[in-house]
């Protein structure tokens, strides 16, 4: 294999398994055998890498006050004010949490770990108004994202964020709430068509009593738990939640469902069922070890075949993080990252519903594509963006509160927003080898193969900087 082939392979690997790669790293890794490079990715630092932005002590204190206020019937004006302020603080911390994670992805030394976290974030899609819960869930997805799927699934199922989101707090003996049991099978493990309504009913009973306490810690409420006999997939027993999960994992359909989703995320929007089967068998036989599945995937020949290279539409996160990482971008007003995510249709921690983001061509419509093609020049050239975005429905309450008769008249004047970011051009240019031509830079920055048109467009370019801005503004840059 030629060095050039390996150069393309490693670049592809890092685009899919991470958020791109710098020129010097690519140069260095291209000299190694690709299996060794994959090993390297999987052996990323396993140190405790949790996000610790949200202060648990402070959050718990607020939750206690909040619970007290909710329990009271008639609130004084001061108490009402306090309740509003807590909600406002939580919203603010939620935004900070979003930015903390995006910054982490931009700066991480463990790109695969963050990419897996992003995958599980979409798979176990969840919204929580409580930033402490949201952070907990995100850390679970990071900690176990390359570990045992069983552990990950149980930890997610026991997290307050998910228990709350899927109404398991209301799932009680004699009064089951089936929401969690249904999504567990439909979206998290087996997929539609692989279970019956009766399986949902019976398993919901097994999860009764799975709640969390006022500190945000999982708590098994024995008195709300239905410990009677359940019939689940033909098996009869006094099943607890963990038993149900084990029966679900025993079914190869679960391995297939997860593998197909992994394939669609890392390889191609259109799954090749042969490859999915290969992956699923391996995953199942490896007892749901996620690292083993990923190793299999990244070392498979088909992963590097032309139909899978430079053909996937980047998600908004992949696009924004890749761009920011490549050019060492500093956001002077990091809030703009939230606005961009929201305008591009992937506001992290706020998936559209429990099914997550649909992905693929769904990311692209006329407005999101035009915006995507403008963002590089705005980010890299410190431009202004005249884009006010759409209010998030969950922010409606805040909007309603802030709307008063006096501000109404000003509503027609929409606030201007500024990307207000800068790339570190000297640092970027320093990573490139001396004498690199615009065409070679294009080859490095784009994943799709160069065609004549693009080659012609950049061949006569004078500078690498202007070339970089041009390339990143191309439709081809939307692919990875």
């Amino acid at each position: 294999m030629s060095a050039k082939d390996n150069f393309i392979k490693v670049k592809h690997l890092y685009n899919r398994a991470g958020f791109g790669i710098s020129y010097p790293d690519l140069n260095k890794l291209s000299k190694r055998n690709i299996n060794k490079v994959v090993d390297g990715l999987l052996q990323e630092p396993k140190k405790d890498d949790a996000i610790t932005l949200v202060n648990d002590g402070e959050s718990r204190r607020q939750m206690l006050v909040q619970a007290g206020l909710y329990a009271k019937k008639d609130l004084t004006d001061d108490e009402k004010k306090m309740r509003r302020e807590i909600v406002q603080m939580q919203n603010e911390v939620s935004r900070d949490l979003n930015i903390a994670w995006v910054s982490k992805m931009i700066n991480t030394d463990s790109p695969l770990r963050e990419k897996m976290t992003l995958f599980w974030h979409g798979h176990f899609a969840c919204r929580s108004n409580n930033p402490m819960y949201a952070q907990q869930l995100n850390n679970i997805q990071r900690q176990h994202g390359l570990g045992s799927f069983r552990t990950l699934l149980i930890e997610v199922s026991k997290s307050p964020a998910m228990l709350q989101y899927l109404n398991n707090q209301q799932n009680k003996k004699g009064k089951p709430n089936e929401n969690f049991a249904r999504e567990l099978m439909e979206l998290f493990t087996l997929g539609r068509g692989n279970y019956t309504e009766n399986d949902i009913k019976e398993s919901a009973r097994a999860f009764t009593g799975w709640t969390y306490d006022k500190d945000g810690t999982f708590f098994f409420r024995k008195n709300q738990h239905d410990d009677g006999t359940k019939t689940f997939f033909g098996k009869i027993g006094n099943f607890e939640g963990e038993n149900i999960i084990d029966i679900i994992l025993d079914k190869p359909e679960t391995a297939t469902f997860i593998s197909r989703k992994i394939y669609k995320f890392f390889v191609n929007d259109t799954p090749n069922e042969e490859h999915v089967k290969e992956l699923a068998n391996h995953f199942y036989n490896a007892k749901y070890d996620i690292s083993e599945m990923m190793r299999k995937l990244f070392t498979a020949d088909w992963f590097y075949s032309p139909e899978n290279v430079g053909t996937k539409i980047k998600s908004p996160s992949e696009f924004l993080i890749g761009l920011s990482r490549e050019f060492f971008v500093t956001y002077n007003k990091p809030q703009v990252l939230i606005q961009l995510q929201s305008s591009l249709g992937q506001y992290l921690f706020n998936p559209p519903n429990v099914a997550g983001w649909p992905g693929g061509q769904n990311w692209i419509d006329s407005s999101s594509l035009m915006l995507r093609m403008r963002i590089p020049s705005l980010v890299l050239n410190d431009g202004e963006i005249d884009f006010s975005g759409k209010a998030d429905p969950e922010d409606e309450a805040v909007i309603a509160l802030s709307r008063t008769a006096t501000t109404m008249a000003n509503n027609t004047k929409k606030p201007k927003s500024y990307v207000n970011a800068q790339a570190d051009w000297p640092k970027f240019l320093d990573t490139l080898p001396k004498g690199l031509t615009p065409v070679e830079l294009t080859e490095f920055l784009l994943q799709p193969k160069l065609n004549d048109k693009i080659t012609r467009m950049v061949a006569d370019n004078k500078g690498l900087r202007s070339t970089a801005v041009e390339i990143t503004s191309m439709p081809e840059y939307q692919l990875c």
């Binding site: 019937k73 429905p393 969950e394 309450a397 008063t404 509503n411 027609t412 439709p475």
Partner: protein, 399 residues
């Protein structure tokens, strides 16, 4: 200028007319008489869950006053429509519209097993799904996908906003979002983007790159068409000063200049009134009503009102009983408004909400919102609603 250069200068058609793919076919192909039969739908979304009971007030029902001691609208303030229901006093501007017979109120529209989350319920309304079904395409998007006679062009559906709502996204076709046609035109005609599109027939295949180029070309061609068609039009009507009225003014400009768009989508947000509802909702209803009244009169003066149908919805209504903060919490069924110059049933369409027969404090729905969509699809957009809504819904008699 030779023919080749001329084509090049007109933008995307550089590939030469022989190679123009079907989706880029020029609009001139459409006969003029088709134009005059053009019917428009305008969807107005009130985001946040508008409190329908303080919008169309059941002043004839004592239960309303018992349950809403702090926020009920006094009978003498209500704009009475019959002896049971009337409009919120902030909706004065709509009285004339109502009296003209241009407005229909449909009470208690909802769906089985309602969801009280803004997100989920908005998704359900925008996709037309059941409450336990997750669809990634919107009902208007699927109308675009259906490839019907009336939905051929990429600008068949326009949302006057910065980003495109799920309602407008189909599997293969999507509506277009724009706030300002001139800005989109400038953007898509950026010299760099134009250069990207030069002689690009090699990219127009079915893969993802082809899809990106196709979207780009459609956006550019739509932007040019919209800008060139609408720029000459000058509205003579005055609109109130609000963002919402501006959106409607843009829609009116598009309709009145003869744009061949079938569906327009606009929204007004801020209706999540958990606290001190009276003023907040009042301001929004005033904005809504004044904007709508100006819009409808503008259309009337341009002879477009008979070709236009406007429908207003919100993702849910609110609970019958107010909360302790003089606001209301998330509820279920809600009223919808239909406006137009050719309504079959004008005024109040069905009976007022039954406030004594509630489902744990919430209104029970009388009509499924997909019956309303189904009626519009069948009778206004001339498609079979079963093809779009995944099952057939009975139509209603408001049009």
């Amino acid at each position: 200028m030779n023919r080749r250069n001329f084509l090049r200068n007109t933008g995307f058609v550089a590939a030469g007319s022989l190679f123009v793919p079907a989706f880029m076919k020029p609009l001139e192909a459409m006969a003029l008489d088709e134009l005059s039969l053009y019917k428009n739908l305008v969807v107005v979304q009130l985001s946040g869950g508008n409190d329908g009971l303080n919008t169309v007030v059941p002043f004839g029902n004592d239960i309303y006053y018992q349950k809403r001691k702090g926020i009920a609208i006094k009978p003498e303030e209500v704009i009475k429509l019959n002896d049971m229901q009337g409009l919120n006093p902030n909706m004065q501007a709509l009285q004339e519209i109502y009296d003209q017979g241009w407005m229909t109120i449909i009470n208690d529209v909802g769906y089985p097993n309602p969801d009280r989350s803004h997100f989920r319920s908005m998704d359900i309304w925008q996709t037309g799904s059941d409450s336990n079904q997750f669809l990634s395409t919107g009902w208007i998007g699927r109308y675009l996908d259906s490839n019907c006679q009336t939905c051929k062009f990429p600008y068949t559906a326009i949302e006057v906003d910065d980003s495109l709502s799920l309602a407008m996204k189909g599997q293969t076709k999507k509506g277009i979002a724009l706030k300002d046609p001139a800005a989109l035109y400038r953007n898509t005609n950026d010299p760099f983007f134009k250069a990207m599109l030069k002689s690009d027939k090699e990219h127009l295949d079915e893969d993802n790159l082809g899809y990106l180029y196709k979207t780009m070309i459609e956006t550019q061609s739509s932007a040019s068409y919209i800008q060139n068609t609408s720029k000459i039009y000058q509205s003579k009507s005055t609109y109130p000063q609000s963002g919402f009225a501006n959106q409607l003014k843009t829609v009116s400009k598009f309709i009145s200049s003869g744009l061949k768009t079938r569906v327009y989508y606009v929204s007004l947000s801020g209706f999540d009134t958990h606290v001190n509802q009276i003023n907040q909702q009042g301001n929004l209803l005033k904005q809504y009503s004044e904007g709508m009244a100006a819009f409808l009169k503008d259309l009337k003066s341009n002879n477009k009102l008979e070709d236009t149908l406007v429908v207003t919805f919100s993702e849910f209504g609110r609970r019958v009983e107010q909360n302790a903060s003089n606001g209301t919490d998330h509820g279920t069924a809600n009223n919808m408004f239909v406006f137009g110059g050719k309504l079959k049933k004008q005024g109040i369409f069905n009976s007022a909400p039954n406030l004594s027969d509630l489902d744990t404090g919430d209104l029970k729905y009388q009509l499924d919102f997909r019956q309303v969509y189904g009626t519009i699809l069948d009778k206004w957009l001339d498609v079979n609603n079963g093809d779009i809504l995944n099952k057939k819904f009975n139509t209603l008699d408001f049009i």
